[in-house]
């Protein structure tokens, strides 16, 4: 159907302005980003997942596992969580969030859950050795005292 030219022009203008409104509504840097808290943890850790600038319900997946979760819309973001299962062996896992046609991912590290072995003990051993020597000195002094006492008592008895 042919439309008169002026109307076509008006329609075109409307479309352009609608597009402008749309781009204004969504900031230029509105790429979805995924943030985890905490970023590392052991089995049983609950990991909160935030998909920033995802203005709808989203879904999340943990790579190489059967763990998937939902991120309901929360203001301008989508937010959800998953729990580290005992099937997840220590290592690095990519957490991917699908928000409409966008996907974004970040990494989570499953650890054994203990702290870091950040010491060899050389400064501690100095202190421990000092304690040992003090103890040895005390024992020696006591032995010497006993011996002296015993000798004296022998002398008086004689």
């Amino acid at each position: 159907m042919r439309m008169p030219l002026p109307i076509r022009g008006m329609l075109a203008a409307l479309t352009v302005s609608a597009a402008l409104v749309l781009t204004a509504a969504a900031p230029a840097n509105a790429a979805v980003t995924v943030t985890l808290s905490p970023t590392a943890g052991a089995v049983g850790t609950r990991v909160d997942v935030l998909a920033s600038d995802c203005d709808q319900d989203a879904t999340g997946d943990v790579e190489n596992t059967d763990t998937s979760f939902k991120l309901p819309k929360n203001n301008n973001n989508a937010q959800g969580s998953f729990t580290v299962t005992d099937k997840m062996k220590p290592g690095s896992y990519t957490v991917t969030v699908t928000c409409g046609s966008d996907t974004a991912s970040t990494k989570f590290t499953v650890t054994s859950g203990t702290g870091a072995a950040t010491g060899g003990g050389s400064t501690a051993s100095n202190a421990a050795t000092a304690v040992l020597w003090t103890g040895a000195a005390a024992v020696l002094a006591a032995a010497a005292g006993l011996w002296l006492l015993k000798r004296r008592s022998n002398v008086t008895a004689a």
């Binding site: 905490p38 052991a42 609950r46 973001n77 590290t109 859950g113 072995a117 950040t118 060899g120 051993s125």
Partner: protein, 223 residues
Amino acid sequence: MAAVVLSFVLAGGLGLMLSSVAPVPSFSMPHFGNPFHEDPFAVADPAGGTWLDRSEPTRVDIDAVGVHAPLTALGLDYEGNFEVPKMWRPHEAGWFEAGPTPGEFGPTVLMGHVDTERSGPAVFFPLRDLEESDRIDVTREDGVIVAYEVTAIESFSKQRLPYEEVFGVEPEPALRLITCGGAFDRKAGDYTENLVVFASYTGKRDATAKDLDRPLNGRDHFR
């Protein structure tokens, strides 16, 4: 005896009078959401700040306690324990590669030895002397220096390292330094505790020529 009782009564009366006159601070009940889990993103907006993109850290400088150390990337060992710098490189600290880099949103975690097996103190030995508000600079590969301020220094049993605190988000990019503390368990060949320094983001700047010329503490520093 009567005098003592009287003085108590008088003191009590005085207390009552005072409390009726002086403004008593009002205690508001803290807000409890889920009693078992707080929303870490309630105060944090990862996309809301002018945070930096990823760029690996290369060195850490803490002038207050004389730490000037190169950084190496760390992951996990085959058992899932944290990898730490090599024992024969006591001058070297490391950063947890799987986590955010300095200036990115989230916690950047650095680890370093407190001492070695033989040669005495190592790179993070001086952390015990840190105080609140001391400044920590971390230099990135892209030449940006991210500055932090110490907010807390705490010791935790290695069996109960609070991951939520160490690896959890804060309103701004954050930094944690981890080394060893507590007693040395000779049988296990390891310390019983981790000393964790919590630091918060204070700003970033481009490294100047002077920054880049700062000497690093080499191996000889730890002999």
